[in-house]
Amino acid sequence: MSCGRVRRELLEIVRFGDFGPSAASHLEHLSNCRHCRDEVGFDRALVAQLRRALEARVDPEAPPSRAWYAILREVQRPEPGAGVLTWSASLVGWLRTGTAMAGTGLALLLVLQMEVVPVPSPDRSPAAGVGSTVLEPLHPGPSERLGAEPPTRRDGSSRSLASEDERGISADGVMPESAPTDQAPGELRLMVRPVPEASSEIIFTTGSPPEPVDLQREAPS
């Protein structure tokens, strides 16, 4: 057995007190090898210094008596979260439930009744209009808008009103008196479309009343 290996095993024996019958040969080696003796001696000295250093860290050994009174005060207080729910906890609970229900409803709506139909974006710059999407019923009625001309301004200008009307805001920041009425009463449309500011916009429209409802209304510039 090499000296290095014996030394490693010796250190383990000495550190952890594993003095079994198998340690006899190691101890014999120790008595004949000065390097191993030095090594083990150094290790023992290191451990002795380590103990001193650790003991120095825990002085004073006992905690002050005030600790008990602080603990007693703490355990006699009602546990946080026990008993009646606070109003904020109730509110959070209701919000969670509401969010979950809304999410489930939306998912059901999409799965059961809607398909994604791309429509051309008549009045958007290429950067802003790409990817405009309208979600419509699987069996569109006469209100199909694909290929239809976009509505124009009342003053006859060529710029489309679609983007503003669909947001529910006219060019001068006033809610429009009427909106495109090519939807059947009760028909529900969901439009998802990126807006130029790189956020997304979700618009629900119903057949009656015809105004689109904007969930994320932009502040008038």
Binding site: L11, A53, L54, V58, E61
Partner: protein, 198 residues
């Protein structure tokens, strides 16, 4: 045959605050020592001690009356320490030097005292720099004197792993010592002679 007396944990589970005080008195020293050894900050150690016993009281129903609660208390203490010590490490620095100055053995000769203080300072810094698992291992094994099996139970590892952690901790501490102190007694350092003209 007399009915068995409920032990401390069972009494504590029966809402007995006197039993809880006895529980605190019995176990506060090892818990505080662990907290202080890791944090080196008496105020933080006291805070951890309080949190540990408050937690013990709150979960008293889950404590096993058939077993000593000390390993559980030590485990909670260690976890509390390492969750807070990184935030407060900077505060412990002045205390390090205070402790180091206090532990000099004044009976020694001045030169030996200086050497001893240097080694102790190196070791204190070395202990601080150990990874948490190795630090826990040396604290449990060398400071508290737990057996390897007990230390392994507290640290939730097996005995071989605990041995390995102690081994690597000592190796790391040894590397931090000055070169002349790392050598075995009687060993000499061979220095190659500097040739003139180079």
């Amino acid at each position: 045959m007399e009915p068995r007396q409920p032990n401390l944990v069972e009494r504590m589970q029966g809402e007995d605050l006197d039993a809880f005080e006895e529980f605190f008195t019995t176990f506060r020293r090892p818990v505080y020592a662990t907290a202080l050894a890791i944090t080196r900050d008496p105020f933080l150690a006291e805070e951890i001690l309080q949190d540990c016993f408050v937690k013990a009281y709150r979960v008293r129903e889950r404590l096993d009356p058939a077993r000593s609660p000390l390993p559980w208390l030590q485990r909670v203490t260690i976890n509390l320490c390492y969750s807070r010590v990184s935030r407060r490490r900077s505060l412990a620095e002045p205390i390090t030097s205070l402790i180091t100055n206090l532990v000099i053995d004044l009976a020694q000769r001045p030169d030996q005292a200086v050497e001893s203080r240097e080694v102790l300072e190196v070791l204190q810094r070395g202990i601080d720099a150990l990874p948490p698992k190795q630090q826990t291992a040396v604290i449990l094994y060398y400071l508290h004197g737990y057996s390897l099996a007990e230390a392994a139970e507290i640290a939730e590892c097996n005995v071989g792993t605990m041995k390995s952690r102690v081994h690597y901790a000592l190796k790391a501490l040894r590397v931090r010592l000055p070169v002349e102190r790392r050598l075995p007694v009687g060993a000499t350092i061979k220095v190659a002679p500097v040739r003139p003209g180079r």
